[in-house]
């Protein structure tokens, strides 16, 4: 067990290193990084200071080491626009992103799980094809367009909901729906296939043979077991939601990390863009590690593999 966890930990460390190396190389290889890391029109002294700080006259591995060392101490540079450390900015926006992601997740599970179960129980029937249509639409409608159409309907025509900003529950509804829409379809698909698999298993046949009423078989025996993969996916998706909300947050002017990234590109604030992509990747590597460890704790077969 310890061996397994240590090995997974090692893999994750390698991933994180490669992640920083990838970002570092992209910035260095594609031209003079000072043009990205120094504000346009900055005095020569600033340019020299940056060159000095990152040791841009040094060999490339020394530069990478400097870069890595500053990342490890939490130094992601200063924002050109806000003039504060990028990490502080990031952390101040994180709660908003988390709130939006949680709301979107709640919505996507509320829609995805019941409709997935219904489709699996009535496989081939009306609800199944309705579910299929829904999941196809969910996967095909771009979230930002859903957001814009929601604004047109609920803010412009009906005047029920505020079109942008944050602060109240009413501000949260439309962005959460627009963001959760795609994931609701994904969760529905997985619930359906997971339910179908469980419903075909031996112990469900046994439960039916025992003469248990069908609703009880589905609710008590099938549902619980079918839920495990769905919740795993939901865990990963929560982290993904935080990182893909750029467009939805831009549409609704929601002050999260996505909006920070958008400001970063509009104001040509490169340190912000770099930090958002680095931290996003790191977050996903870590959540994958966490899920692998949890799975190993639950399921001994995984531990013994290889």
């Amino acid at each position: 067990m310890t061996h397994y966890i240590l090995r997974r930990l090692g893999y994750s460390l390698v991933s994180l290193l490669l992640l920083s190396l990838t970002i570092f190389l992209f910035v260095r290889v594609t031209g003079d990084p000072t043009t990205l890391l120094v504000e346009p029109g900055a005095p020569q002294a600033d340019v020299d200071a940056i060159r000095q700080r990152f040791g841009l006259d040094q060999p490339i591995w020394v530069q990478y080491w400097t870069f890595l060392a500053s990342l490890l101490t939490g130094d992601f540079g200063n924002s050109f626009y806000y003039r504060t450390p990028v990490l502080d900015l990031y952390l101040s926006r994180l709660p908003n992103s988390l709130l939006l992601a949680l709301a979107a997740m709640a919505f996507s599970l509320l829609i995805g799980i019941p409709s997935g179960i219904l489709a699996a129980v009535r496989v081939g029937g009306f609800w199944d094809s309705a579910g299929k249509t829904f999941s196809l639409l969910g996967l095909s409608l771009p979230s930002f367009w859903v957001g814009l159409v929601l604004i047109l309907i609920f803010s412009v025509s009906l005047g029920w909901l505020p079109s942008s900003g944050s602060g109240t529950v009413w501000h949260l509804l439309m962005p959460a729906f627009a963001l959760g829409w795609y994931f609701a379809a994904a969760h529905m698909r997985l619930t359906r296939s997971s339910m179908l698999e469980v419903l075909g298993s031996e112990y469900i046949k046994l439960a039916r043979l025992k003469g248990l009423p069908e609703p009880r078989v589905i609710a008590k025996h099938a549902f619980k077991n079918a839920l495990i993969p769905v919740l795993t996916l939901a865990g990963i998706n929560l982290v993904i939601m935080i990182n893909v909300a750029v467009v939805v947050e831009t549409v609704f002017a929601w002050p999260g990390i996505g909006r920070l990234l958008y400001e970063g590109i509009t104001f040509r604030d490169f340190p912000v863009v770099q930090a958002v992509v680095l931290l996003g990747g790191a977050m996903i590597v870590l959540v994958n590690l966490l899920i692998d460890i949890l799975y190993a704790l639950i399921d001994p077969r995984i531990r013994l593999e290889r």
Partner: protein
Amino acid sequence: MAIETPVVELSPRFSFRLDDFPLLPTLILTGIALVALFAGALAPHDPEVGSLAARFRPPAWQAGGSLEHLLGTDHLGRDVLSRLIFGARVSVVVGFTAVVVAGATGTLLGIISGYLGGWVDQVIMRITDTWLALPALTFAIFLTAIVGPSEMNIVIILAAVYWTRYARVIRGEVLSLKEREFVRLAVVAGCSKWSIMHRHILPNVLNSAIVLGTLMLGVVIVTEAALSFLGVGVPPPKPAWGLMLADGKKGMMVGYWWLTVLPGLCIMLMVLSANLLGDWLRVKLDPQLRQL
């Protein structure tokens, strides 16, 4: 007495059944491709030039609309229909090129990684895993921040972001193909590694690559639209659907719905068609990918 009709047995070569062929999505995709090809002849106006005197004209069927601008005009008085028609060209060109470049790169690296194994496999797969961990849209935005937006750069960036999805799947298939008789026989017969990869492995993974490519088309088009919407995609005044949505936001709060709804409908139509076709191809061509 009914005469029994003889059953005509088609040879297995021709048993590719077309019963549930998604005709409508295919027609829509072909239609969009034709519109993109003949945009110059079809568009009634210049998509990049408008007259400020004719700003925010509603579609023809609404009060104040005219037949001259069937689908209305935008904030610079440009004809929406013409912009949608030329926007199809951007989506088709960027979408198809990016899918093909990403597919070629990913398939090539997947085959090399799976067939050669050893340290080559380790290196390629570690890079693949790392790039897969980066959120696609954020990664793409980061790359545009470095190289700057242009149509050409968008294609390269989309390919750089999405080749990993092919590499992963293709490598898995190669690992099982490698153990099959015909590949082993080729090894015994003394074929070189490269000729085995080229003549025996590649033809057998093409089906999967095509299925993945069709499914990726939708993803790539949405990503391109998102990048353009955020202002780091296709640079204005070129008409891209995502860019039109961003412009449409300006007139949205006063109820100029056509600027928001119409480009989005075009994106949806194209992505939906690609997904439907991809789903069908997946079931028909590649039973292994059904689980995806």
